[in-house]
Amino acid sequence: MQPDFLATSLHIVAPELIMALGTMVLLMIGVFMGEKSAQTVTGLAVALLIITGLWLTLVAPDGAAFGGSIVLEPFARFMKVLVLIGSAVALVMSVGFTERERFDRFEFPVLVLLSTLGMMLMVSSGDLLTLYMGLELQSLAIYVLCSINRDSVRSTEAGVKYFVLGALSSGMLLYGASLIYGFTGQIDFKAISLVLTGEPGLGLIIGMVFLLAGLAFKISAVPFHMWTPDVYEGAPTPVTAFLAAAPKIAAMTLLLRFTIQAFGPLHDEWRQVIIFISLASMIFGSFAAIGQHNIKRLMAYSSIGHMGFALVGLSAGSVAGVRGVILYMTIYMAMTLGTFAVILSMRRRDGMVEEINDLAGLSKTNPVMALFLTFLMFSLAGVPPLAGFFAKYFVFMAAVEAGYYTLAVIGVLASAVGLYYYLRVVKVMWFDEPAGEFVPAAMELRVVVGAAALFIFPVYLLVGGPISAAAEAAARTLF
């Protein structure tokens, strides 16, 4: 390799390098300081994420490193910032939990950082190899995270389930990748798209379907979603909060990059797959959530549904559609983190609770929290003028502009069904008799809830324009 080539490449991957080296240092600190170091390591991890984010936005140049294996352009930068914010907030939210629930293991922040590093690679991946490498780095860390509470059967079960199924999905993804390589002779996304001219062969299509299935597993789209409710419920709540936000962003980014960049010429083929899993996710997510009593399971089905809605935008395959997906993921992350901050505050004197009915009468015992959660629920349901409405609006508009009326109509109907279970939470909070008070929430949780609720209303109304413009610029770089 030429020295200046290496220098340029290192320049581009500097944020990842900072992350990797920082994580190693934190691991060392944890090992040498022992069990007592959890708080310190968490704090340093957040700082590391912030430094990486600043470096990413202020210093790192655009370009392709290592012969196109890792790319950094506005799209990747936008999504990486989201991922970093998601991870940082999830770490912040865990502080109180680690103290009170004997969860103070320094491995938690370190694993989150490793997983985040994997996500950054996913977001930046320019070929099939980086794709797989990032995906596995991200996943392996999360498998461990899920079962980090070794004394809990549910936590261990969640970890094992996720690991086994994740391995299966990785197998599918790898099989698909090998077929694609076999039929195109290329692993670089841009090179693949150049080769894809004329009628695609059946083998290539099958490869594409397998690879999409592997990615769909990561965003928990139907029918590759089955792990989601069990893992969400079983994993410790801070892990679930982390799992629900950043990894979804990274996987969705990968899906966008793969479909638009590598398989752009085969839009007619892949959109059939996307539409199918989009429809299935929207409908399944909406219906299945109705029967839930556990709020973490509810959020699992909610996320399944939301991934379906986001995919509506992707199926359009246009700049507007991709922009819609980016905005959707941004707003989705804010809503999810806010909601999980509330879930983490659901603590009675005798421990955590996670049933929906435990929220009964929250409006009387903690009106501010109730109001914020009401905002979040209405936003998740897509009620104007909250941000969640705009998220849905952009993807549905993109679908309508691309002529997919049926998809948009079914999406709207599914969101109407979904409204029911969000409203049920609101109803329980405002109209049911109080079921005992929660202990006061930790400061960091209050900050997250407040920030998320205020972001979706009214801050989004003010900053929606610039965010939308940035998303538009990011989407354009993909085409």
Binding site: M172, V209, A213, F224, D230, Q272, A288, I290, G291, Y420
Partner: protein
């Protein structure tokens, strides 16, 4: 000045209605009553200073759509002024009276707000310059009537009566609106000036052609039938009259008026005696240029008026509720007014409206004072012997009764005799019918009026000793309005007879009332035989004598009569079975239809297939979907594999196409 008269009650309504709670009861009473008194004084000033030319005061432009061009404007002519005076005077006195009568009620601000709202609507009705504006007032008074009948909304009977009044009036309003539409079709406008000009043109045309001779051109299709100009006019007049029948409680649509007595007594005096129920009379008088062109419609009006007069009088004979007797009396007197309208004697109709407002309001308020005195008892069988205890009220009631029965020189004498005389001389097809009916009704009127007096004030007390112990004269605030109305009941006829129907007719009305060229009723009226002239007076004397015999001389006679003719007695007591008939024919089928649509149509079909059905299916689906989530890892893996297989298969098949 004119807008002030109309709008002051509205201001009073808004103040008492919106701020009644905050400014307090006293302030609400004084504000509304004070505004009404000012309005009354201005009305009288306007009445006497009126120049004769019709004044139009434009307030604002209202609707412009296609050919419809409507203003809010006041039309002030003599007819309007008479109504203004009647409405504001009675309303102001009722406001004052209510301060005493409603003294114990906790919701007085609401009551006074409603009263003022009613007055505003009524003034809007009588000052209207087009039919739509009139309809606004028409519905406004209907609403106020509904609210006031149901004022004591905790009483089921009051709520039922309020609904009945509202629904029965809808029937009439349906005809009224159709009439307005018809007029718009025929004349291209609903403004009175255009309508009257068009009617004058049509009159000339009809006059030239001779009725039904040449103008066979179809102008109008209604209910599948085509009408020529003359026929169309008749249809429109009949439709308008249908509205008047509802509002003025003419036979067929009268059933709501007796029930309306569920409202507080001042309301009965103001709305259900003096003003609102005369809106139909006013409307027909206002539309006299149209009615004059349709002898058929006028005949029908006479027939209905005469029938109502006799029907209501017969029912009034046997009622025992003091307010119901007066209510049927009102119904009967309204019949008189329609007879007068029907025979083309519009002046006499309005004159009777004018005098009737005074003496009937007097009777109602007097009855209110009686009810007030005997601890809210309304059954005359539990009264008696009250004369010595409440002498002022007694003499007020005597004055009202004299005026109602047409005792010479009282106001009723002039107006009622004028109606009977004009019915006698008219050439209308039903004129003679109207004449006979009104004469007989005069006899019955005298009987039931004196029966009321005798049963209430004479004889031995039939109330419990406790009630008798509490009997007391009403406070001054109630007696003063009675006194003012008594003055009106005595002198209104004497003072105004010359202007309303006598030599000053032309100068007084100045074309506010239209009479056709062949209509000579007013002139012929003065040349009637002497015997006919004193006939009403004789009837009154006979009625008085019979009542005296029945209730003073030989109190057992009424019962033995009732026992001898039980069928007739029950027929009258049950008000000719109108309510039972309507209940059987309209109410019950309507309820049955409603129940069917509710239970089967809405509950089973719409809810079942719609909201309930959909939500039940959603729950079913949710339950089934959840069962997929078994928790077994191999199920999950299987689902993923199935998914991939499905997708690959689909792509293979789709790729092959």
């Amino acid at each position: 000045m004119y807008p002030t008269i109309v709008l002051l009650p509205l201001v009073g309504f808004l103040v008492a209605g919106l701020f009644g709670r905050s400014i307090g009861v006293k302030a609400s009473e004084y504000v509304t009553t004070g505004f009404l008194l000012v309005s009354m004084i201005l009305s009288w000033i306007a009445f006497f200073s009126f120049g004769g030319e019709t004044v139009r005061v434009s307030l604002l432009h209202w609707i412009q759509s296609g050919g419809v061009d409507l203003d809010w404007s006041l039309r002030i002519d003599r007819l309007t002024l008479v109504m203004l005076v009647v409405v504001t005077t009675v309303s102001a006195l009722v406001h004052v009276y209510s301060i005493g009568y409603m003294h114990h009620d906790p919701h007085r601000p609401r009551f006074f707000a409603y009263l003022s709202f009613f007055t505003f609507s009524m003034l809007m009705l009588v000052t209207a310059n087009n039919l739509v504006q009139m309809f606004f007032g028409w519905e406004g008074v209907g609403l106020a009537s509904y609210l006031l009948i149901g004022f004591w909304y905790t009483r089921p009977s009051a709520c039922a009566a309020a609904m009945k009044a509202f629904i029965v009036n809808r029937v009439g309003d349906f005809g009224f609106t159709l009439g307005i539409f018809g007029i718009f079709v025929l004349f291209g406008s609903v403004n009175f000036d255009t309508i009257f000009a068009g009617a004058a043109g049509m009159a000339a045309e009809l006059g030239h052609a001779g009725e039904g001779a040449t103008t066979a051109e179809t102008v109008f299709t209604f209910a599948g039938t085509s009408f020529t100009a003359a026929g169309a006019l008749t249809v429109i007049c009949l439709l308008l009259f249908m509205g008047a029948m509802g509002k003025s409680a003419q036979i067929g649509l009268h059933t709501w008026l007796p029930d309306a007595m569920e409202g507080p007594t001042p309301v009965s005096a103001l709305i259900h005696a003096a003003t609102m129920v005369t809106a139909g009379v006013f409307m027909l008088a206002r539309m006299s240029p149209l009615f004059e062109l349709s002898p058929t419609a006028l005949g029908f009006v006479t027939f209905i008026g005469g029938t109502t007069a006799i029907f209501a009088a017969t029912v009034g004979l046997v009622q025992n509720d003091i307010k119901r007797v007066i209510a049927y009396s009102t119904c009967s007197q309204l019949g008189y007014m329609f007879v007068a309208l029907g025979v083309g004697s519009y002046g006499a109709a309005i004159f009777h409206l004018f005098t009737h407002a005074f003496f009937k309001a007097l009777l109602f308020l007097g009855a209110g004072a009686v009810i007030h005195a005997v601890s809210d008892e309304q059954d005359m069988r539990k009264m008696g012997g009250l004369r010595k205890h409440i002498p002022i009220t007694y003499w007020m009631m005597i004055v009202g009764t004299l005026a109602l029965t047409g005792f010479p020189l009282t106001s009723g004498y002039y107006s009622k005799d004028a109606i009977i005389e004009s019915a006698f001389v008219s050439h209308n097809a039903f004129a003679m019918y109207g004449f006979v009916m009104t004469v007989v009704a005069a006899l019955l009127t005298s009987f039931y009026s004196w029966r009321l007096i005798f049963m209430t004030f004479h004889g031995k007390p039939r109330a419990s000793a406790e009630v008798m112990h509490h009997v007391h004269e009403s406070p001054m605030v109630m007696l003063v309005p009675l006194g003012v109305l008594a003055l009106g009941a005595i002198f209104a006829g004497l003072v105004f007879t010359g202007r309303f129907i006598g030599s000053g007719y032309e100068a007084f009305w100045n074309a506010a009332l239209y009479t056709g060229p062949e209509n000579e009723v007013l002139h012929e009226m003065h040349g009637i035989p002497f015997l006919i002239g004193i006939l009403p007076f004789l009837m009154m004397l006979i009625g008085f004598a019979v009542a005296w015999f029945f209730y003073i001389r030989s109190p057992s006679t009424p019962r033995s009569l009732a026992e001898r003719y039980p069928g007739l007695y029950r027929f009258l007591l049950n008000k000719w079975y109108f309510d039972e008939l309507y209940d059987r024919v309209f109410v019950r089928p309507a309820k049955r239809l409603g129940r069917f649509l509710w239970k089967t149509g809405d509950g089973t079909v719409i809810d079942g297939l719609g909201p309930d059905g959909v939500s039940a299916r959603v729950v079913d689906i949710a339950g089934r979907v959840i069962r997929l989530q078994s928790g077994y890892i191999y199920h999950y893996a299987f689902a993923m594999l199935i998914g991939v297989v499905l997708l690959v298969t689909w792509m293979t098949v789709a790729g092959a196409n």
